[in-house]
Amino acid sequence: MNEQTKLRTIGANLPRKDAQEKVTGAAIFTDDISLPGMLQAKVLRSPHAHARVLRVDASKAQALPGVVAVATRDDFDGMSPFYGYLIKDQAVLATDRVRYIGDMVAAVAAENDATAYQALDLIEVEYEPLPSLPEIATALADDAPELFDGDKPFGVANPYGTGASGYVYPRKNVCYQFDYETGNADAFARCDHVFEDTFTFSRLQHMHLEPFVSVARWTIDELEIWSASQSPFVVRKELARVFAHPENKIRIHVPYIGGGYGAKNACKTEPLAALLARKARRPVRLRFTAEECFLTNTQHASIHRLKTGVMQDGQLIARKSEIFLNSGAYADASPLVAEKAGYRINGSYRWQHIDTKCYCVLTTTAPAGAFRGFGGTQAAWASESQIDMIAHRLGIDPYDIRMKNLLNLNEPYVPAESGIDSDLREGLSLVADRLGYRNRRRRRGRGMGLSVVVKDGGGANKPAHAFVKATTTGGVIVGSGTTEIGQGSTTALTSIAAEVLNCERDRVSLTPVDTHASPYDQGTFASSGVAIMGKAIEIAANKVKREVLAFAAEDLDCDPGDLVLQDWTIRRGNEVHPLAPMIMKHFGGPGFEFVALGYYKLPADHDAPLETKIPYWENGWGGAEVEVDEETGQIRVLQLIISSDFGRAINEGACRGQDEGGAMMGLGQALFETMVYDGDTLLTPSPLHYRVPLASDLPDRFQSILQEQGRGPGPFGTKGGGESGILTVASAIANAVEDAVGVRITDLPITPEKVLAALDRQKADGEA
């Protein structure tokens, strides 16, 4: 770890900036927004996984006293009712077809919930059921019906650089394909061994405690929305297109968000809320129930077929991967997830040849989209499991095979890509030591497993704007479009401004997120808040500082270089000159504000595979120790050690919280948490049926190690870290199970029954 100069606010570990509001219940979320005359909206959803919609008649619902507006596909005059990320395939309400149980068909806005529910019962819909596509295999079968036949929805592939390519609707029921290739396939011929293994990844639901919710109202000319949205500017642009209404007349406010983990990106409740509000001519609140959230957005389940060529001494040579993502009924963020699921399957290692194909397969299930880890969690499960399997087959310790193949510091991830900015070996050694991995006493039934995951962080080609204002008396206001979803952006971004302007963090406030007033941001995702938005703020704050010093230098008739800004005073040698009197002397009693805008984006690089060199690498290390009950198959996690390199921690508590929160999500996925589809029916439709980790699921010993390797491109050497915590856990546990009892589970969750069945097979093989 580098020697770091002590900073005033960065690393001072003050309480989080949002602490007082959140512990007293004063923090305002979208649910707390209430407007006069506000109506409650409810949605009628498809009971069929796949059907033609022959007739929708909401007239009886409209006639029910207390119902103010209903909305169906008949209300789309003047609208372009389809939205989506890269592919605009999802309609505000179903047009000719429904494609999963839960697809939105009609909606009502009424005086209260009870009336709205009664109204839903009065809406008549006639369906013609069609064969469903419950799984990847069904969707890809030769005789499978097309989920989108005829003219395909509008979609564009992203531009890519060296080795990468993307295709929209390349084949039946595949909405996107991402390919990556480097090196030459004849590398396989050189290998001593070629191992082929298949891994299956389960599907989680974000289950943020605050559901999807928005409040919409139209004034004379303007659409105003409050929404729990991680990407309000993207939503604004979509709404502008959908409603053919100019962006300058659409205004979106985002209060505190009660958890997102990726789900709350892009359009969710907003288009429908806006449609109902327009028809009702009153504000409308559309709040999804927890059950509806399960039907709105999920993580991608996936299948990974890895063909990996290695040398006898453990050197990794070549990997060919075929990845199938279960994208659900609509694309949502799937093309972007496919990019990353494909790009990240190489893991943390050096290869001579990579050949990856990643397919987004459409199925008649809830749409899958952005979920913490974003394809990287899936990739890590497969890659870090296979590394251990290969190690065992070659008789090499899993720790050693990793040390042998890990990318070096500054080594490009792949050709034409930026270099890895963490010392991966240092991190692995740290976790292994904390776990007690090396020189441990080996015994049957108890085992340890490791995992190292490298993830591109900060987004690709992602711009950030921010402004910083400083008032006459030194109050600082930062404008940024980053939303606070719990990750600590409020704390991080104000800390950066405070550090640059050399003032107390308490003197720095953030403007609320408001698309009219906040500078533009593409959205709170890709762990970009600190490394990208933080830079924009640093740039803006530095501009303000320069202006202030220039102003003071002119007043004091000296060179700005002679002056230091500290707590809104100017220091010149031993002299202390408060700024407020200086300002008022110049501008008069009312005073002044210094304002500057900061812009940050890494330059596009058409050579780089993803069209820009990745800003930083969000790396995670994990280690698990388990004890396996060989009669029941139950796994007890004795230790879970995780670590991330935050570059430099702005606030330790916030960093630690993100890592540990992510790790417990990973633990849940590893052992029990999963959405279960039985054919078309979701057997785990709500929190009542869907088991998530509780405090009682904490491992006996659970520790996060905060690394500050100091190499981040963000302000003061910072990086992001919201996603690395989840990445390593499932594979670390599977690896520990193999270490303990010699069985390998290649699908999730790792249930007692699966382990027991594997142990039975092991016994049978042994006796054979």
Binding site: N112, Y117, T632, D678, L683, S686, P752, E753
Partner: protein, 277 residues
């Protein structure tokens, strides 16, 4: 459909002060009546749109909440909460193992809100109330307008107008009782032994999660068997008992075979642990 709290039907509230009064009300008020104790399950149904016109609130009826010692048993009022059972002095004295285990059912909030009666009447195979009560050979006591009726705790009483008023738990099982929930939602296994001076009189088991509703009953052992012998034959006894049960359910949580195997395993383990304690 999940519904929401805003969807709860409008109803007339009745707050009787005795079980007898509650019984009469049930008879008078017709079909669209719900009985409420803790409301843990009822509130879900109401939010989903259960169309009721009357609600009879039972939880405040002191008589239904009382826990008292009888000659051979402990009588738990049907509206006693799990927390009541966990902390009650009578339970602690006569059913010491039960008190400890009841502190672990569900979670802290449900232990406070939920009642033993509501728990077993919910008919949820995964709930933690019935398996132990089956193992403990408990009896359900119902009040009807025609008088009191007693059934085995796992028997369903067909009478809509009967009000569950109490559960009687024989004292003889109170000392040797264990409940393993570590493999939920595949199985949960409760075991109790009635023994006098090291000699076993009865062994019973209650199994949850593995069937449409919890099942169980007596294990066939000779009265007078020593605890030591019971421990030694635990594997065979448990296997035989598991075999005698109806076919466990097969679902996406666990297979039928796994469930049956785990019933036998957990039963054997707990028998041994109780005998050796």
């Amino acid at each position: 459909m999940q519904g929401s709290y805003g969807n709860i039907a409008a109803f007339r509230l009745h707050r009787p002060t005795s079980a007898a009064e509650a019984c009469s009300l049930v008879g008078e008020l017709g079909d669209r009546v719900a009985l409420m104790a803790g409301g843990v399950d009822l509130l879900q149904d109401l939010k989903a749109g259960l169309p009721i016109e009357h609600l009879i609130y039972l939880k405040a009826i002191k008589q239904l909440r009382r826990i008292e010692a009888c000659d051979d048993s402990v009588r738990l009022g049907a509206c006693a909460t799990h927390h009541d059972i966990e902390t009650d002095a009578v339970v602690a004295e006569y059913l010491p193992s039960v008190a400890g285990i009841w502190g672990d059912v569900a979670n802290a909030r449900v232990r406070i809100a939920g009642t033993i009666g509501g728990n077993i009447l919910a008919g949820n195979a995964r709930y933690d109330g019935l398996p132990p009560l089956i193992a403990l050979d408990a009896t359900a006591i119902f009040e009807t307008v025609a008088g009191t009726r007693r059934t085995r705790v796992d028997e369903v009483l067909g009478d809509r107008n009967a009000i569950l008023s109490a559960i009687e738990v024989p004292k003889r099982y109170g000392r040797y009782f264990a409940f393993d929930r570590s493999l939920k939602p595949a199985v949960s296994v409760a075991v109790s032994i009635a023994a006098d001076r090291g000699k076993v009189e009865h062994v019973r088991a209650g199994i949850g999660c593995a069937h449409a509703s919890p099942v169980g009953g007596r294990l066939p052992i000779d009265p007078g068997t020593s605890l030591e012998t019971l421990a030694k034959s635990s594997v065979e006894l448990a296997a035989a008992f598991a075999q005698s049960l109806p076919e466990p359910i097969e679902d996406l949580t666990a297979s039928s075979a796994y469930r049956r195997r785990m019933i036998a395993l957990q039963l054997a383990r707990q028998l041994r642990a109780l005998c050796e304690a």
